[in-house]
Symmetry: C2
Subunit: 542 residues, 2 copies
C-alpha cells in the first residue's frame, strides 16, 4: 500500500527555492582573483539564476540532459551556474583546472560539454587545447574585463549573456533521479572517470552534512568554502548553505594563508572546509603572526587526506580552533564519515581523544560502510582487523560515466573504495593503507603507477617505484626509487623533472629520487610498496 504523501522531488531547484524563500537575506561574499570583495544575497542570486536559466535555454539552446562545463574558481557566478544549469535539467560539469592539458581535453570530449563557462584568468589553459575540443560550441567568459582578448572562438561575457534576460522563469519539474552534476576522478591508474550525481543524491548529501554529528551548519554560521567547486562540487557546500541558511564566503584564487586569514577575520567566518595542506599553511602563518583578536572560527572540517594529529593539537591549543576529520571520495559525493567525540569518550586521556579524532570517523545517516577481508568475509568491528573499505548509500555511485565496467562494485552492490581500513566497535573507521598506490599531495591525487611507467620510459631507467612520503607542507609527496639500467650511469634530478614535465603538471612530479639495486617484489612479482615504505621508514633508502 502506498503512503498518501505528496510527490516532492528532491532537486537542486528545491534547494534553491528553499534558500530564497527562507534565507533570501543571507550573504554570498566573493573575493575575486584581484582581491576585490563582492557581496550579494541569496535572493539576488535567485533572480540571477532565473536569468541564467533563460539565457541557457533561449540564447544558448541548452536542453534537458545537456552537459555544460565550468572551468572556474569559487565565486558567486559559479554558484549561480550550479543552480542555473541543473535547474533547467542540464548537467553542471565543473572541470578540474589542475589537470594536464591531455586530461582536460579528454574530460571535455568525454563529457561532451556543449558550453564552457571559464574564468578569464584560466582562459590560457583552455586556449591551448581548444582546437582539440570536439563538442564545445561556445565559451562564456567569467570575471573578464570588457576588452579581454582570447584566441577562443565564439565567446561571450557572462554579464552580457545575462544582461537582457528576464527574471521570470518557471523551473521545470525534474525527476529527482536525473543527473544534475558531474565530476571526474583525478585520474589515478588511468584516465579520469566521470561520476554523475543525481538531484536526489546531491540533495540528500547536502542535507545530511548540516546535521550536528556531521558538519553542524546552521543559520548562525558563516562558512568559508576553500574546497574548490571543481573538486566534487566543493563537497556540496554551495548546496548545503542554502539549506542551512549559512552565509557563504568564496575565495576564488585567494588561497594563500595570509589571504585566508584576512577573510577569516573580516567576514567573521565561523566554520570552513579544506584539505589539510591549506590548514597547515594557515596554522604556521598564524603562529608566525598571531591575529590580534580571537578569530570567530570555531572549526575547520578536513577531508582528502588524513588530518595530522599535530595540526589538530596545535590549532586547538594555540588558537582554540577545532579540526574535524572527515572522509569521502569523488564517488561518494564525497562525504561519508566524520570523526567527532561522544560522551562515552569523556574520560579518555587527551591523547586517546586525539587518536579518535584523527580517525576517519562514523558514517553519516544515508550511507553504510563495511570492511571486507582478503578472504571475502566481513571483518569484525574490532578496530584491528583490516580489509577493504566498502560503502553503499544514497549518494554513492553505481557506475562510472560511459562505462559498463563493474570491477569497482561487489556483487551485492557495494562500492569498493580501494582503501584498507578498520572499523572499531563504536563505528569509527580508520584508513590504514591503500590498495591502489596513490599519493595525495596538497589534496590532489598523484598516481604512482603513472609516474612509474613514465620514468621507466627513460632510456637509462630499468625500474622505478614511487611511494608517498610525509611532507610538512603537502602532507604527502612522491618519492621515486629508481633502478638504473647501467649502475655506472647517473641522472640528475633536474633531468628527471624535465623529463616528467612533458606528461605531468608540476605538483605531480617527484622532487625526491633515490637509487636502489632492485625493486622489492611480492610473490606474484608486483612491486612491493609496503616493503619500500618499510625500507624508507628505517632510513635504508636515503
Amino acid at each position: 500500500m502506498k503512503g498518501l504523501i505528496m510527490d516532492y522531488p528532491l532537486t537542486t531547484t528545491t534547494i534553491l527555492e528553499y534558500g530564497n524563500s527562507v534565507y533570501h537575506n543571507k550573504k554570498i561574499i566573493t573575493y575575486l582573483p584581484d582581491g576585490t570583495r563582492e557581496e550579494y544575497r541569496f535572493g539576488d542570486m535567485y533572480k540571477r539564476c532565473k536569468k541564467l536559466a533563460n539565457a541557457l535555454t533561449k540564447k544558448l539552446g541548452i536542453n534537458n540532459g545537456d552537459m555544460v562545463g565550468t572551468f572556474a574558481w569559487n565565486h558567486a557566478p559559479h554558484v549561480e551556474l550550479y543552480y542555473g544549469i541543473s535547474g533547467i535539467g542540464a548537467i553542471c560539469h565543473p572541470i578540474n583546472i589542475r589537470l594536464t592539458s591531455h586530461q582536460t581535453e579528454y574530460i571535455i570530449n568525454n563529457s561532451e560539454d556543449r558550453v564552457i563557462f571559464v574564468d578569464a584568468t584560466l582562459v590560457p589553459l583552455l586556449e591551448k587545447i581548444a582546437p582539440l575540443l570536439e563538442t564545445v560550441e561556445c565559451y562564456v567568459l567569467l570575471n573578464a574585463p570588457k576588452d579581454f582578448k582570447t584566441s577562443l572562438l565564439n565567446t561571450i561575457h557572462y554579464e552580457d549573456l545575462l544582461a537582457d534576460q528576464n527574471e521570470d522563469y518557471e523551473w521545470p519539474t525534474l525527476n529527482e533521479n536525473d543527473a544534475c552534476g558531474m565530476c571526474y576522478t583525478s585520474g589515478t591508474t588511468g584516465l579520469p572517470k566521470g561520476v554523475l550525481y543525481s538531484h536526489r543524491s546531491t540533495y540528500l548529501h547536502a542535507s545530511n552534512i548540516i546535521s550536528p554529528n556531521a558538519g553542524n551548519y546552521s543559520n548562525l554560521d558563516t562558512l568559508l568554502l576553500i574546497v574548490p567547486q571543481f573538486h566534487v562540487m566543493a563537497w556540496g557546500f554551495p548546496y548545503l548553505c542554502l539549506l542551512s541558511g549559512s552565509n557563504m564566503v568564496l575565495p576564488s584564487s585567494n588561497l594563500q594563508p595570509e589571504a585566508i586569514i584576512k577573510m577569516l577575520q573580516e567576514e567573521k567566518i565561523t566554520k570552513a572546509n579544506g584539505v589539510p595542506t591549506i590548514w597547515l599553511g594557515v596554522y604556521h602563518a598564524m603562529k608566525e603572526n598571531p591575529p590580534k583578536e580571537k578569530l570567530a572560527l570555531q572549526e575547520y572540517i578536513v577531508g582528502g587526506s588524513a588530518l595530522p594529529k599535530s595540526l589538530i593539537e596545535g590549532f586547538e591549543k594555540d588558537f582554540g580552533i577545532k579540526g574535524v576529520q572527515a572522509w569521502g571520495m569523488t564517488e561518494t559525493s564525497p562525504l561519508g564519515t566524520v570523526s567527532r567525540l561522544q560522551p562515552m569518550h569523556a574520560n579518555l586521556s587527551e591523547n586517546e581523544k586525539l587518536n579518535i579524532r584523527a580517525k576517519q570517523g562514523t558514517a553519516f545517516p544515508g550511507v553504510e560502510i563495511r570492511i571486507m577481508t582478503d578472504e571475502g568475509t566481513l571483518a569484525p568491528a574490532d578496530g584491528k582487523t583490516m580489509g577493504e573499505l566498502q560503502i553503499k548509500g544514497a549518494w554513492v555511485i553505481n557506475s562510472y560515466f560511459k562505462t559498463n565496467n563493474q570491477e569497482n562494485f561487489t556483487d551485492d552492490g557495494w562500492f569498493k573504495t580501494g582503501d584498507v581500513s578498520t572499523i572499531d566497535t563504536d563505528g569509527y573507521m580508520e584508513i590504514k593503507d591503500r590498495t591502489k598506490d596513490l599519493i595525495k599531495s596538497g589534496g590532489e591525487w598523484i598516481s604512482s603507477v603513472a609516474l612509474e611507467s613514465a620514468l621507466m620510459a627513460h632510456p637509462k631507467i630499468r625500474e622505478a617505484a614511487v611511494i608517498a612520503i610525509a611532507d610538512e607542507k603537502w602532507v604527502e609527496k612522491p618519492l621515486a626509487s629508481i633502478v638504473l639500467v647501467n649502475t655506472e650511469d647517473t641522472i640528475s634530478d633536474e633531468e628527471l623533472i624535465e623529463f616528467l614535465s612533458r606528461d605531468f603538471v608540476k605538483y605531480q612530479i617527484p622532487k625526491d629520487y633515490v637509487y636502489i639495486t632492485e625493486v622489492p617484489k611480492t610473490s606474484v612479482g608486483k612491486f612491493d610498496k609496503k616493503e619500500i615504505r618499510r625500507l624508507f621508514a628505517e632510513g635504508k633508502l636515503m
Copy 2:
C-alpha cells in the same frame, strides 16, 4: 539522463540498520507505568525487532500492507513495534488512547487492524468495544503480569510472542513510497481521518528535524519523549534518535510534573519535546520545589499549541532552560516550522526577541509554506497580511485514508491547513486564528462545532457558541456561551456537564458557561466567533 547513483530506499529499516550499526551502544530507557526503570541498548532493540519481525510474519501471519494497531504508552516495546511492523512491510497504526469509545471503534474498523498490541493498563478501554471490532484477530498484551485477566479473546503476552523467535531475519527490500505508519487526526469537525505516512516521508521528516536549525539533536543528547507515540508517531522522535544517536527516555504514563522532573534529573536529559501544558506543569512544580542542582536540560521543543511567552521567559530566567516553538499537524508528519533566533536578531530588545520566538517559525528544508488571502492571491511576506496557511512538502499528505475528498487541497497541490497566519519578511510564520473553530486544550483538539451541536440538542437551549479562552494549565479551554429558549429558565453547570458527558470525554467538556441573549452572527448568518472572543476579551461576557 539519469544520475549514476545507487538505489538506496529511505525506509524505517534504513534507520534501524543505521542506528544499530553506528549507535548500538546508545540507550533506550523506559519508566513503566508502575515506576520501574528499564534500560537496554539500540543493539538489543535491533535484535528484538528481528524477533518481532519473525513473530509477526510466521506466528501472526501478518503480510506486506497489513495494518497492525498499537494502543500503548511510550516505552521500549512500542519502539520495537514501530520498526518491527514497518520493517516487514506492514503498517504500524498507533491508536490514540484518549478518544471516545465510539471514535476508537470507528478508527480500528476503518483502518482494518488485524492485530492490536495493547498495554495491560489500557486493556479496559478496549474490552468495552472489542465485540464491535470487525477485523481484529488477536490482541498482544504489553507489560502485563503473567496472571493478567481480560475478557479480550485471542490474547498473547508480548514476551511469549517473542520468546521462541529467531534473532535472524532478513528485512525485505521495501519501496520507500510504501506506507509504514498511520495516525488519525483527532476528529475535529467530523470523524477522525486516517493519515498514511510513507517510509520516505518518515525518514525525511526525522532526518530533517535533527538539523541545528530545527531540533538540533546529536549523539551528545539524551532525549525525553513526552509526546505520546500515539500522537503523530511521537513527532518522529523514535526514528530520529537512531539517526542522531541520541539516548531515548520513554516515560509511559509517568507524565505528572514530579515524575518528569525526576527523569530529567536522573537521566541527565538534555532535550525534550511536549505540548505546552506539560511544560507549564513542570515549570510550576520546579518553582514550588526548585531542583538542588541545575538540570542538564538545555531546551524543550513545543508544538500542538502556542508556547506562552510567560513560560518561555520564566523557564529561561529561573532555570536557564530554553523553550522552542515548533508547529505542525498530523497531516504534516507533524513538524513543519520551528522558531529560533538568528544573528540578525542580535540587537533586538528582549521583548522583541520573545515575540519572534513565540512565532511558529520558519519552514524546515523539505517543506514550503505560503499564505493565501481570501481573494485567492498569494499574501506578501510582510508579517501583517493574513490568510490561510498552506503547506506542501516531502512529508505532507496528498489525501486522507479511504477518501477521494480533495477539499483540503488546492488545485496546485498544496494542503490547506485551516489556520489563519502571517509570514514575515524573514520567513517566520505566525498563526493568528483558525478558520475551523477548534479549541486545543492540553494538547488535544476539542471541536467547538461538535460541542455546539450537542448543547443545542438540549431542550432548554436555543443557541450555543463555544470559543477557546486562555487557561493557565491547559493553555486553552472551551467556554460555552448559551442562548436559552426561555430567558426565565436556568440550567446548572453540573446539569450541562452531565448532559455532554454522553458524547464527550471529560477533558472536552466545557466547565465554563455564560448566558447571552443572542449569538453574534456574520453577514452570511454564521456564528461570529471573532466577535464573541472580542466581547469576552472586553469582559462583556462573564
